[in-house]
């Protein structure tokens, strides 16, 4: 399949990045219902009656960036162990149990949250929630299983990261990008620390963070809030709230050094160029900047008709792909990505110079107001697609709430995108596309030791 941005997939997906809009009448993204149990568990219901199905998710407000020093990977390791037995049923395999309900399940860990999800026929929802509630308070960690599963997560690291030069470059860029904040530590963990993770550390992490008052349940599918409420009460209502610590996240110092990271590997046949700028995320600011950044990235490099692609691929023919996107779904910082794949005869230094020239031109001339209007239309129109399904709406809502965004902000995302002005777009471009705010990465064949020949 053709995908002009296929060169790069970095980190987690873009929250709300894809999504869309109606022309004149921009609509709210979702109509959400929510309520909170007495023990502090937040619940959100997203109705969708396309099929008699529900996706049930539970989001814990804890992730890899909350790990104690030296225990990188513990949040994700615990996520794996959550599928093992509980004191109620030590031999249970959670996923097997869900399969016996005719359902699918999985989980994922980010820097900011850990989420568990199941999709089942709607009448099975009570069973699924009972199982989920059981492992919220009764996890049984077996010493032998912990050791075996630690081998599994190390294999997972080797598969996802160590075997992929592109992923290794991404990991090194994150480490260099964050000089003080834990986003510089890989979610999966550094291997030398993963090897030392212990059952006691797992138990501590679980006891510290896995509580109803630190969780959000999102139910997306063929059910109303009114129908869901008694079922949620029955499953989770009698779990007691416990004190949960504040999440302490060191912040980043100012940067005044232009940084580049270069990774060479014999299995790289096609070099890549990428750059990450540190920018606000949706939840890290009350300002309009994240919305302006979303629009700015779309204008600068969201499509094959954007200046980045037009200039580098069509006109100068220095690259076979080029683009930009904004990732605003982390709690403390967002990222703005630029990427390009050089054409065969182009060295990365030439490509980088052309990119820098283009960005400079964008900053001095400002975005074309017609392009801004088109980008906003595109983003708000595409938002309609976010409602076409069960999983994606629940993911969007769960991630945003975990990071502390309000329901209102989620629902009104298209309206706030539509309100972005060309001036705001230029302002964030000038504010953040500064050389010292960017970190540049090169992926190179082993034979190439410098980016220019």
């Amino acid at each position: 399949m053709k995908n002009f941005g296929a060169a790069m997939v970095l980190g987690t997906g873009l929250l709300l990045s894809v999504p869309t809009a109606a022309s004149d009448d921009v609509q709210r993204l979702f109509d959400l219902d929510s309520f909170t149990l007495d023990n502090g568990l937040e619940v959100v219901v997203i109705e969708n009656h396309t099929a008699p199905i529900v996706t049930h998710m539970i989001w814990y407000r804890v992730g890899a960036a909350d790990e104690p020093p030296g225990q990188s990977g513990i949040a994700h390791f615990l996520e794996h162990m959550m599928f093992k037995g509980t004191t109620t049923d030590p031999d249970r395999d959670f996923s097997e149990e869900i399969s016996r309900q005719g359902g699918n399940d999985n989980a994922f860990t980010s820097w900011d949250y850990t989420a568990y999800h199941q999709t089942v026929a709607v009448e099975r929802l009570p069973i699924v929630m009972a199982l989920e509630a059981d492992r919220m308070r009764n996890l049984a960690l077996d010493p032998a299983e912990v050791l075996t599963e630690r081998d599994v997560i190390i294999e997972e690291r080797r598969q996802r990261t160590d075997s992929s030069p592109s992923a290794r470059l991404g990991e090194q860029m994150a480490a260099a990008r964050y000089r003080n904040h834990p986003y510089g530590i890989p979610i999966i963990g550094w291997e030398h620390e993963m090897e030392t993770l212990s059952i006691e550390q797992l138990a501590d992490f679980y006891d510290t963070w896995y509580a109803p008052n630190n969780a959000i349940v999102v139910i997306s599918g063929d059910i109303t809030a009114e129908e869901a409420r008694p079922l949620v009460e029955a499953a989770y209502g009698d779990i007691e709230a416990r004190p949960v610590p504040e999440r302490v996240r060191p912040s980043e110092p100012p940067v005044d050094a232009v940084t580049t990271i270069s990774l060479s590997d014999p299995t790289v046949n096609q070099p890549q160029w990428r750059r990450i700028y540190r920018v606000p995320s949706y939840s890290s600011t009350d300002s309009n900047e994240p919305y302006a950044l979303q629009v700015m990235a779309e204008v600068l490099g969201g499509t094959t008709t954007s200046p980045l692609y037009r200039s580098l691929v069509l006109e100068q023919q220095l690259a076979t792909s080029a683009g930009a996107f904004y990732s605003g779904d982390n709690r403390d910082y967002g990222r703005l990505f630029l990427f390009a794949s050089p054409a065969p005869e182009t060295d990365l230094a030439t490509l980088e110079q052309a990119l820098d020239d283009l960005v400079a031109e964008f900053l001095s001339e400002g975005p074309d107001p017609d392009d801004v209007a088109a980008a906003k239309r595109r983003l708000t129109t595409a938002a309609t697609y976010a409602r076409d399904g069960f999983f994606e709406p629940a993911r969007i809502v769960g991630a945003a709430l975990s990071n502390g965004e309000s329901l209102e902000a989620i629902e009104e995302w298209p309206l706030r995108i539509a309100a972005v002005t060309a001036e705001e777009t230029l302002d964030v471009a000038i504010g953040y596309l500064r050389p010292e705010n960017g970190l540049t990465g090169y992926l190179l064949p082993e034979s190439v030791s410098e980016i220019a020949q």
């Binding site: 053709k2 008699p52 399969s99 309900q101 026929a121 081998d151 299995t267 595109r378 697609y385």
Partner: protein, 464 residues
């Protein structure tokens, strides 16, 4: 739904356009499929979904990369890159600009046996979306600058992919098992063949392949039968009646029992073990599906996941699957694991293969598999895109209009004895062809053939 006549003004079709033949209803009120036949006789399967103002269409032509002329490998793939790069009187930038501004998603994909496309649009932009699709299929421009640009993009993708362990593994296996069959050619083409593909070659592929007699269509979303009938004529009515497809020869798999090592640096190896499979149309396919779920298709709870991951911690993932080409069927297992774990994993896999073939499953395993396969089946109907894709697959693979109804019954009626019999007939441990890409212990692996990494990569990237 808010479609109005004016939005479909381009059509001059008679009023009672679409004929609803009959409907198929899944149990548990899941989805209702309508079979639509347009005024010009073009058939599509439709599931109306009014929950969101979105329409998804999937369509496919039988005949994919196997239709590439020898020496012009990559033609179908390059076509899939070029159909949205200008059509009718709109050049690439104009066409792409309209797609982008309306947030219309339009994708084309070249498979071995099929050339498929999918489109998603909001209802508000549907008339433009279908107009663009019609132009892309009926009047692709294949402008020289677009050909050059997409050839460069595809070449760049090939250069990126060749180092991928999965690609290397498939390449090595196809070389051995498929010989010089058309399936064994590089479906994306190579830096040597891509420059030979010019406008005439591309147009010839389109003329031979895009026709009404080998077209199938699935649609889901906020559109009614009558409107869809008119859309079908507008988009597909101008295609020729008859395709002219190259014959794809029958095939039997070679290399049974052999072990190949493709040397590649890195901490892990990619292991695949493959044997002959079972045809989709074989009545035993349901028992085979249950067997596969139990052996390794079902993730947690499957015998291989239990033995290789859960009990031994040798891998993050291992899974088996039945796969099908029009002229060949495969059954195989794959896993990524540390180099030092390869030999042990192979031994466990062989053991499990034999034990399932000899003893079959337990009754409880069969019960659990049936519960999962029937219960999870409707979960696929979760978005208009998924539904349209399923409707397309049902037609491409001749599964039948009543497949959704029959699937549950057929899976449910599989017995332990059926599975044991099919396992005994299908599973052939000595016939497994093993391909390892990585740096495992060579002595323990004892490969019949060792292929240096560079030789595969350089061959693929050679310009000749």
């Amino acid at each position: 739904m808010s479609t109005t006549a004016s939005r479909w003004a381009w059509l001059i079709a008679p009023l009672l356009a679409a004929v609803l033949l009959f409907a198929s209803v899944l149990p548990a009120r899941a989805v209702e499929i309508q079979r639509i036949v347009s005024p010009m006789g073009i058939e599509a399967w439709l599931v109306e979904v009014d929950e969101v103002p979105v329409i998804s269409m999937s369509f496919g032509f039988r005949g994919g990369t196997t239709q590439d002329e020898p020496g012009h490998e990559g033609t179908a793939f390059l076509t899939s890159y070029l159909l949205d790069e200008g059509a009718g009187d709109r050049d690439s930038q104009t066409f792409q600009g309209l797609l982008a501004d309306a947030a219309v998603e339009l994708r084309f994909r070249a498979g071995y046996d099929t050339f498929t496309g999918s489109m998603r649009t909001t209802v508000g932009n549907a008339d433009l979306a279908f107009e663009l699709l019609a132009d892309a299929l009926n009047q692709p421009r294949f402008d020289q600058d677009a050909i050059d640009r997409m050839r460069a993009a595809l070449t760049s993708e090939i250069r990126r992919r060749v180092a991928n362990p999965g690609w290397l593994s498939t390449r090595a296996y196809y070389d051995l098992a498929l010989g010089d069959h058309p399936y064994s050619r590089s479906s994306r083409g190579t830096p040597a063949t891509l420059p030979t593909i010019d406008r005439a070659v591309l147009q010839s592929f389109v003329d031979r392949t895009f026709a009404k007699d080998n077209l199938v269509i699935g649609v889901a979303g906020s559109i009614d039968a009558e409107t869809l009938g008119q859309v079908l004529d507008h988009v597909f009515g101008g295609l020729p009646d008859q395709s002219t497809l190259r014959e794809v020869p029958e095939l039997s798999l070679a290399g049974a029992g052999q072990t190949i090592l493709v040397e590649r640096e890195g901490p892990q190896s990619t292991l695949t073990m493959t044997q002959h499979g079972i045809e989709r149309s074989d009545p035993d396919i349901y028992a085979a599906s249950v067997m596969n779920y139990i052996l390794g298709g079902g993730s947690f709870g499957s015998r291989l996941t239990d033995e290789v991951r859960v009990n031994r911690g040798l891998t993050y993932g291992i899974s088996t699957g039945l796969s099908h080409l029009r002229q060949a069927d495969f059954y195989g297992v794959d896993s990524d694991l540390s180099n030092e774990n390869v030999a042990e994993a192979i031994e466990v896999i062989r053991q499990q293969w034999r034990s399932m073939a000899e003893d079959g499953p337990t009754q409880m395993e069969v019960d659990d598999a049936i519960t999962y396969l029937t219960g999870s089946f409707p979960l696929q109907f979760s978005s208009t895109e998924n539904v349209a894709r399923i409707l397309l697959a049902m037609q491409l693979y001749d599964l039948g209009f009543d497949y959704l109804d029959l699937y549950t019954n057929r899976i449910s009626s599989v017995t332990r004895e059926d599975v044991a019999r099919v396992a005994g007939e299908l599973l052939d441990e000595p016939a497994l062809t093993t391909v390892v890409v990585g740096s495992p212990d060579v002595e323990a692996l004892a490969p019949d053939t060792i292929i240096p990494y560079d030789s595969l990569v350089n061959r693929e990237l050679a310009i000749n």
